[in-house]
Amino acid sequence: MNEEKFTEDNEFSELKKLLKEIPKVKAPDNFEFNLMTKIQNQNFEVKSEKKKSIFSWALTPAIGFAATLFLVVFLFTGNDEIGDNPWNTTPRLIENNVAEVNSSKVKISTFRNPTELKKSEQAKSISQNKNLATNNKPQNFPFDKRTSVNLDEGMQPSVNSNSSIGTAQLAGASTNNTSPFDGFFLREVEKYQREDSLENLKDSLRQNEIPE
């Protein structure tokens, strides 16, 4: 130990002597006054300490990453649980809605007892739920060849003269439940001024009458 100290002293003795000799730096005269003023004014702004803001935690990389991850997961997977995306589901056809309303009206009229009506409504709601899946499937366009008119054909004078005049119908005139919207058709010009127009209409309706 002494040997080590001896060699160390010998090796750096001059340097240590020099370091001891250098003049000491002293604090300025107003050091204490400034310090006590700071303390009395509570002016404690230590240089090394950073001011912490309320949202400083949000700037932490780990928390920022976690928040971003949560948002991404929420946006891309959470939507399925919240509800159907209206852009991805096939819209329900108006035809089906009208048909349901019509059929319910018919059924209500047949029920005499209110309890019977209630039961039937429950059964109907169950059947509706069952049919939801099938209704959501893409369906054929609801035009009936029988009640619709091909416009291209209709525009041709030969075809027009043969069939369309007699078979054309008013929109919604169809009595079957296939479709309330029968597509485009050529409207007959009603001749109200003529007295026999109603008679002719009656005759035509009788000819095209569909049995219920």
Binding site: L15, A27, E32, F44
Partner: protein, 195 residues
């Protein structure tokens, strides 16, 4: 006044105890008077800037005032206050290094040695002067790596024991000794022309 006289007789540890227990501001003031100059010297030798040194020592004293309860009587008061000052000085150095763009050519220690030689050559009689020596030593100290510089200052300028330095820096005594020796060796190489 009588209290002041009584307090003046107390040791550093007794004064901090008085300040902790009774919040006696006079005890705090006495400790400030005792340590302001040694701390100024220590921080100045480490940083080499008088104004910044004054700020850091002020901050050290404010931290001491605010966090007096974090001092535990198992350690010497001087060790504790030097640790605070050393940490603040190191933080300042880091901050400064981030801002400062150092030129690579100036980092060569041989250039610095030549600079000292030139000064000595120009005014050989003045080189013996303490203030010139002090200036040269200061410049040389700033060339030593901070991890060595701090320990050399604490040991050879402030006169702390290895054990105390070990407590201040949280390093083992072996590491303290080896770092001090490396720092001295580098310093000696830089200052070989002035002694």
């Amino acid at each position: 006044m009588a209290l002041d006289k009584k307090l003046l007789l107390l040791t550093d540890e007794e004064l901090i105890k008085e300040f902790q227990d009774s919040n006696t501001i006079e005890a705090y003031e006495i400790l400030v008077k005792r340590f302001k100059d040694p701390l100024m010297n220590f921080v100045y030798r480490f940083l080499g800037d008088r104004d910044v040194t004054t700020d850091i020592v002020q901050d050290t004293m404010i931290k001491f005032y605010l966090k007096k309860d974090s001092y535990q009587s198992i350690a010497k008061f001087s060790t504790w206050i030097y640790t605070i000052a050393g940490n603040l000085a190191k933080n300042e150095l880091k901050r400064r290094n981030r801002r400062q763009i150092l030129s690579i050519s100036n980092d060569d220690p041989d250039d610095f040695t030549l600079q000292i030689e030139d000064k000595k050559f120009v005014a050989p009689d003045r080189a013996a002067d303490n203030s010139i020596k002090g200036e040269m030593v200061q410049k040389a100290l700033l060339r030593v790596k901070p991890i060595y510089r701090e320990l050399v200052i604490l040991r050879d300028i402030e006169g702390f024991t290895y054990d105390e330095i070990s407590g201040m820096t949280d390093l083992s005594i072996g590491t303290v000794k080896s770092r001090i020796n490396r720092g001295r060796a580098h310093l000696q190489k830089l200052l070989k022309n002035i002694y």
